[in-house]
């Protein structure tokens, strides 16, 4: 402990400089120090916590740097080799997706069900974008989207088993899968989807899954929906 003669205050910190006026501090006698501690209490120092912050920031920045370098390299190679087909756009979308995916999982603090739902939705969007860049036929609608819905159902099932105490938290995700299936049927009716096999499988899985839960666990489902839909 020292004393700032300019500010006329005692400074607990282990320093020679006043944090307020930056003047050099004066020593305090042992008696005076004892009196101040007895009056105001002893010092309560803080740990140095900057290293942890630096590490996380550095990792994300390093990743961003590597991705930008990779994409720049991809653009150059693309333009030099196959300038008529811009596959570098695909790598750009892919890298952006991976970066945002990691950022979302590391930084965002929503629950697993929200994260899974968001990632499935984003993966669907990614597939559609890639498909649009490459052009017809709409393989993303016919195969990837139903595939993602089946994957979503499987993940919901696994998570319901893993977190049995909170299995009902995933009901909304299940409802989302059914809604996605309905949307695919609309696209089928509009003629965007030709092959019906995977569409039937994903709709059946989602529908039956939701039906089983709604019939055999009706009370829990009601409670969960009441919570989720409270106005």
């Amino acid at each position: 402990m020292n004393r700032c003669e300019n500010c006329n205050i005692y400074i607990y910190d282990d320093t020679e400089i006043c944090p307020l006026c930056h003047s050099i501090l004066a020593d305090v006698s042992e008696d005076e120090k004892e009196r101040v501690i007895e009056t105001y209490g002893d010092e309560a120092p803080y740990p140095d916590v900057t290293e942890g912050i630096k590490r996380v920031n550095f990792a994300m920045r390093l990743l961003l740097f590597i991705f930008i370098l990779t994409e720049v390299a991809a653009v150059i190679v693309n333009l030099l080799t196959t300038p008529k087909f811009l596959w570098c756009l695909l790598s750009l979308v892919g890298l952006a997706y991976i970066f945002l995916f990691l950022r979302h999982w590391i930084k965002h603090d929503s629950g697993y069900s929200a994260k899974i739902g968001f990632q499935i939705f984003m993966s669907m969007v990614l597939m559609v974008i890639i498909n649009v860049v490459i052009g017809k036929p709409y393989w993303s609608l016919e195969w990837c989207l139903p595939g993602m819905i089946i994957l979503g159902d499987v993940l919901v099932f696994i998570f319901m088993l893993l977190y049995r105490e909170n299995w009902f938290s995933y009901i909304l995700l299940l409802v989302l899968m059914v809604i996605c299936s309905v949307i695919l049927w609309v696209l089928f009716a509009l003629g965007f989807i030709k092959s019906i096999i995977l569409l039937i499988i994903c709709s059946a899985i989602s529908g039956v899954f939701l039906l089983v839960v709604a019939i055999f666990k009706d009370r829990e489902v009601k409670r969960e929906l009441k919570r989720r839909f409270h106005v």
Binding site: C7, N8, I9, Y10, I11, Y12, D13, T15, I17, P19, L20, C21, V36, T39, Y40, G41, D42, E43, A44, P45, Y46, P47, D48, V49, T50, G52, I53, K54, N57, K107, D109, S110, G111, Y112, A114, R164, E165, N166, W167, F168, S169, K217, R219, E220, R223, E224, R227, R228, F229, H230, V231
Partner: protein, 480 residues
């Protein structure tokens, strides 16, 4: 192994629930903790979490709506604007991690609000009973008031850390305000000390203090009166304290300790309450140091949260406060300290009245009562709330809160040296202050993301010139 541990915890919880258990059992409990510590070391090796909370019947988890103010916090909370506050206590001895963890576990079991997690519904957020294990009590590794990542915190909305003799409780504001946080921290301290000093405190009952209300009503809604003249929060621009900021999310913390009696005498001499005196001095310090005593296009607006409980006879543990502001817009002439203090006094006296607080409360709740707004999906609400909040962020220069006098029960007092309160930064507010007192010592805590300390320097100098002796402590970032 897991089952064994769960059984043991259940037995322990049964003990807690049998509230007539007195401290004779604590000595036995301490042995149990030692055994638990052994288990915990094993679990640490395997990287698992702390103790599992008492299992509930599946699907029967209790839930609750958020209070009126809490609705905003989850929407606007980010890494940079965490909406987390810290209340800390400095003991006379080094903190024992295992005992502290056990104390937290026991207190959470008895104060259900802190055992909740935040969930997102289709229209609103809501609280749901959290049956995940409590997060580990760990040594402090983050800046005060750092964002609480709920996924990494097992969805709990509070965090307990320690460093040397200090116990830190950090709470996400959606859960409760300083009133609720201080009750929770005091109970943790009591429980910790009972476990740490079973012989000394053998006459103390091993349960949370009698007289504590576990009421978690939404007092905003309960006290809402339909009013045609709603008092809207102002959104006109105020002076924003700008300057060089700390990098890497660092936060400057400065505690000023002074005798309560000296501050009271100084404020009385100027015909002010302690609150008016502190807020007034801060506004004057901003005027002198930031505006250099010159005229300003915008007012210096210092926000003061008012605890509404005494005005509405509420004992809720949830948030129940309203914001009023002390505004001072300097013109061309130079103002003296007394003039500024009087302007602040008049401002606060005019705004902290039952009538005005009624109007603020009615305005806050009126939107929530609107059926059309209620049925808007939460995604749209979030977007709109962020825009509305963003537009009002520059309406405040700083916030100064007084969380009051901390009083501990007599047998525990000798173990506790001091209390602290630290507020995290908000958008547009680069400096905040929190005031509290304990054992005759007033502690004014400034948190700031600005490297410059001239406002704090002027503030403490003004008070010192009024005959108040001051001792200052910082978190060390001002020397880096």
């Amino acid at each position: 192994m897991k089952d064994k541990k769960a059984n043991k915890n259940n037995k322990k919880n049964e003990k807690i629930k049998g509230s007539s258990v007195i401290n004779e059992n604590i000595i036995g409990d301490e042995k149990e903790i030692k055994q638990d510590n052994k288990d915990k070391k094993d679990s640490k090796k395997s990287g698992s979490d702390g103790k599992k909370r008492e299992p509930r019947k599946r699907g029967k988890l209790s839930w609750d709506k958020l209070d009126n103010t809490a609705t905003l916090f989850p929407v606007i909370a980010t890494q940079e604007m965490s909406n987390v506050y810290r209340i800390a206590v400095n003991l006379n001895e080094e903190v024992d991690e295992e005992i502290l963890e056990e104390a937290v576990h026991r207190v959470v079991e008895q104060i259900p609000l802190f055992g909740m997690r935040l969930r997102e519904g289709v229209f609103w957020y809501y609280f749901e009973e959290n049956n995940k294990p409590l997060p580990r009590v760990m040594e402090e590794t983050q800046v005060p008031g750092a964002y609480i990542n709920k996924t990494r915190n097992n969805q709990y909305m509070f965090r307990v850390t320690y460093y040397k003799c200090r116990i830190n409780l950090e709470v996400f504001h959606a859960l409760t305000d300083g009133f609720g946080g201080s009750i929770f921290l005091k109970e943790i301290v009591y429980q910790y000390l009972r476990l740490k000093h079973p012989e000394d405190l053998k006459d103390e009952k091993d349960k949370i203090s009698s007289g504590i209300f576990l009421d978690s009503e939404d007092s905003y809604v309960k006290n809402f009166k339909k009013n045609k003249k709603y008092k809207k929060y102002k959104s006109s621009k105020a002076v924003t304290l700008e300057g060089e900021k700390f990098v890497n999310g660092k936060l400057g913390v400065m505690h000023g300790f002074m005798k309560f009696s000296e501050v009271r005498a100084a404020s009385k001499k100027r015909g002010l309450t302690i609150n008016q005196y502190i807020v007034g001095m801060f506004v004057y310090a901003v005027y002198k140091e930031y505006l250099n005593s010159s005229a300003s296009k915008y007012p210096i607006s210092c926000c003061v949260p008012v605890n509404l409980r005494p005005y509405y006879d509420s004992h809720t543990l949830k948030n129940f406060f309203a914001m009023v502001s002390a505004d001072f817009q300097p013109d061309d002439r130079e103002y003296t300290c007394d003039e500024v203090l009087n302007i602040v006094k008049e401002n606060l006296e005019e705004k902290i009245t039952k009538k005005n607080l009624d109007d603020i409360l009615s305005y806050n709740v009126s939107n929530e009562k609107n059926m059309l707004l209620r049925i808007i999906p939460i995604t749209v609400k979030k977007f709109a709330l962020r825009r509305v909040y963003g537009a009002s962020t520059h309406a405040t220069t700083a916030t100064i809160t007084n969380i009051g006098n901390f009083k501990l029960k007599e047998p525990y007092e000798k173990y506790v040296e001091n209390f602290y309160c630290i507020l995290s930064m908000s958008k547009g507010q680069n400096m905040k202050g929190a005031v509290l007192s304990y054992n005759g010592i007033l502690n004014i805590n400034f948190s700031s993301c600005l490297t410059d300390t001239s406002i704090q320097k002027r503030f403490f100098k003004l008070i010192e010139q009024d005959g108040v002796e001051i001792a200052v402590e910082t978190n060390g970032v001002y020397y880096e």
